[in-house]
């Protein structure tokens, strides 16, 4: 409709492609268009670009380039790891707060003859590593626990879980989609066998991602075709996307050197503290745990998150609540439901997630919009306003 200023604080859903990233990928749509598998000049050019990007991603994850498999995104990486490392009769340990890419892939494997344990979380949204240990069975083949949660930003104890997995000699996969680019990642320290990331959550475009697979790990592919990605992922490489992911990984590494993650958390805290200072009966979901620096999930008692998201969107502020179902309607977040928040808080929660493009001015505008919107919704809920509109 009319051009109101738009502020985007839903970067856990997706992020804008950074200008440097866009510039890096642009030539691979036109002048450097070759198929990276071709033996001629054009193929050599793009092959080199793909391998440079693989080096950058390897640096971001602390692994060797040969351990990076490019994928179409987080969902593919999660599916490839989970289905690729297990078979009928195997037991899988995962958690109730995983992304649907992990949860629904696990449910599918249950139908295919696997057993799956879905671990609960505590009130902070944390998986207890002792629960992981206790859940192990003789036939446990894989543990899949996310590194950072998409709703709350809470960082899970992946280092401990990695040790447990290693001692028990079971595979450990972690969905690091919401961690990559936000906190440093070191696959050696985590001790994982597989780790998935997604480009569009870290300022590369939608449709590209990567899966770290530890050297020597036997992984069944999802797709059959050419011998791309060391036969782990058939299909002609998405060269522009891969180049963009490499560039985004580079920028993320530079950001850690410059302590940009500290700046990000300062901005997030300005928003969170500013809201809590102005709004009563509100609080942070998972605020008691270590979190990624860009995310805060705030509950506002006595409001419907749905009306809040719509109201804020109509005023130009994009935030989110829960997960959208296929129609686009909002469903209470399974993550917040799993945290067993007090009555209705799962429905009354809003996720604010920042990106590298957000400015302090934007945060301050959000700080003006949110309290007034909460006040208005509370005033109107549930009684109707007592005046007529006709006339």
């Amino acid at each position: 409709m009319s051009a109101i200023p738009r502020i985007y604080l839903d970067n856990n859903a997706t992020t804008p492609v950074l200008p440097e990233v866009f510039e890096a990928m642009r030539p691979y749509f036109g002048e450097h268009f070759g198929n990276a598998s071709s033996i001629h000049h054009h193929g050599q050019e793009t092959r080199a670009a793909v391998e440079r990007a693989r080096d950058s991603v390897a640096l971001l994850l602390g692994c060797r380039a040969a351990e990076v498999v490019f994928t179409s995104g987080g969902t593919e990486g999660d599916n490839l790891a989970i289905a690729g490392l297990t078979g009928a009769g195997d037991h899988i340990v995962t958690s109730s707060i995983e992304h649907h890419a992990v949860l629904h892939a696990s449910r599918h494997l249950e139908d295919m003859g696997c057993e799956v344990t879905y671990l609960p979380v505590d009130g902070h949204g944390l998986v207890d590593s002792d629960d992981v240990r206790r859940a192990l069975r003789p036939n446990t083949r894989l543990i899949s626990i996310m590194m950072a949660n998409n709703e709350t930003g809470v960082l899970q104890p992946v280092d401990e879980i990695g040790r447990i997995a290693s001692e028990a000699d079971v595979y450990f996969h972690t969905d690091a989609v919401q961690a990559a680019g936000k906190v440093p990642i070191d696959v050696k320290r985590i001790g994982c066998d597989a780790l998935s990331i997604s480009g569009h959550k870290m300022h590369a475009p939608q449709g590209v991602g990567a899966l770290y697979v530890r050297k020597g790990t036997r992984l069944q592919p999802l797709f059959y075709g050419g011998r791309h990605e060391r036969s782990r992922r058939a299909g002609t490489e998405n060269v522009p996307g891969i180049v963009a992911l490499g560039k985004a990984a580079e920028l993320a590494m530079q950001g850690f050197d410059r302590q940009n993650d500290k700046k990000m958390s300062a901005l997030r805290d300005r928003l969170q503290h500013g809201i809590l200072a102005q709004v009563e009966e509100a609080g942070v979901n998972g605020g008691g745990a270590a979190r990624v620096p860009n995310t805060t999930s705030i509950y506002f008692d006595h409001i419907e998150g749905e009306a809040m998201v719509i109201s804020l969107d109509l005023k130009g502020l994009a935030v989110s609540t829960g997960a959208a179902c296929s129609s686009g309607a909002i469903e209470p977040s399974h993550v917040l439901v799993a945290m067993e928040l007090r009555a209705n808080r799962a429905r009354a929660s809003i996720r604010f997630s920042l990106g590298k493009q957000n400015t302090i001015e934007e945060i301050d505008i959000a700080l003006a919009l949110v309290p007034e919107t909460v006040a208005r919704l509370r005033e109107l809920s549930p009684a109707y306003r007592k005046q007529a509109v006709h006339s």
């Binding site: 719509i310 309607a329 919704l377 809920s381 109707y384 007529a388 509109v389 006709h390």
Partner: protein, 370 residues
Amino acid sequence: MTNPKTIAVAMSGGVDSSTVAAMLRADGHNVIGLTMQLWNQRRLAGHEGMPEQVTGRCCSLDDVYDARRVAEHIGIPYYVVNHEERFERDVVRPFVEEYLSGRTPIPCSLCNNHLKFDQLLIVAQQIGADALATGHYARVEYDERRGRWLLKRASDASKDQTYFLFGLNQEQLSRTIFPLGEMTKPAVRDLARNYGLALAEKPDSQEICFVPGGDYKKFLDAYLSDRGEALPDTSGELVTAGGEVVGEHTGIHNFTVGQRKGLGVATGSPLYVIQINGDQRQVVVGGQEQLYSRMLRAHRVNLIAVDDLHQPMRVAVKIRHRHEAAPATIEKSGGDEVLVTFDEPQRAITPGQAAVFYDGDIVVGGGWIM
């Protein structure tokens, strides 16, 4: 356009509500499209008699897709709001229970009362809309003399939907707009074509939106089975009005008053269901003439045009959507109950349906037939 307002439009993905959105937008209002997600058709998919493919109306992804495309076409913000829990509690569950008690429910009225003009109206207000517009064929206007909001029949009597709207209170009516109240269906389709709406030729929906194919018996089975509940045994006797047992039946939910087929009793003259006694699980059968009755009681009565029935009132009463309102006298019979006495006996007065009282075009009020 003198006075632009912010108006939320309840968009079902059909021609009527889509045209309403386009009209209001063309008039310069600030329009926000809302669709209620009420029922997950996928939930019962695969149960016996339920389609694998979800192509039902008003709760289906296809309809959300259509509504979204219209919103995009006319350039308005559009949102889907989730009211599945309330819909199940206030519409689906009562629908099932009414059948199991031997009554014949009207879920559309329940949906209007509890969802569209309650939950959705609240959302509309919360997001800053002055009013909620829908694609219903009905009129609402303020009567200075009575100091009340009036609900009136649509100009196009063949499309009039006031029968399903009798439950609206003054507050709800004051915040509601029915832009199609003065229009005919062909005129609405013409307008839809003029606005370039791709769904201008989309057929009207006929059935209950959450009952695919219209087979409510299969729906009851599928719903209860999905909930892990057994279909209660409501089988019993077929009796005559005189109390003579003439047969057995498999469950009262399989019958509705006026039904002729499927009684499984062979007699010389045609038999009809004339009454269902839920408590005794009895289905009373009889001849055509026994279907006629002059009186009914309605409860949970909502009055619109008047604040109370101080004395008997002459009205015309409609006892089902396709019934022609018949002259009658209504009088209060205690609490929220009204006694309706028709001038002429009416055929198949059916408990669970609504009795809606009209004074000419004006809806006086209505209640549920006991």
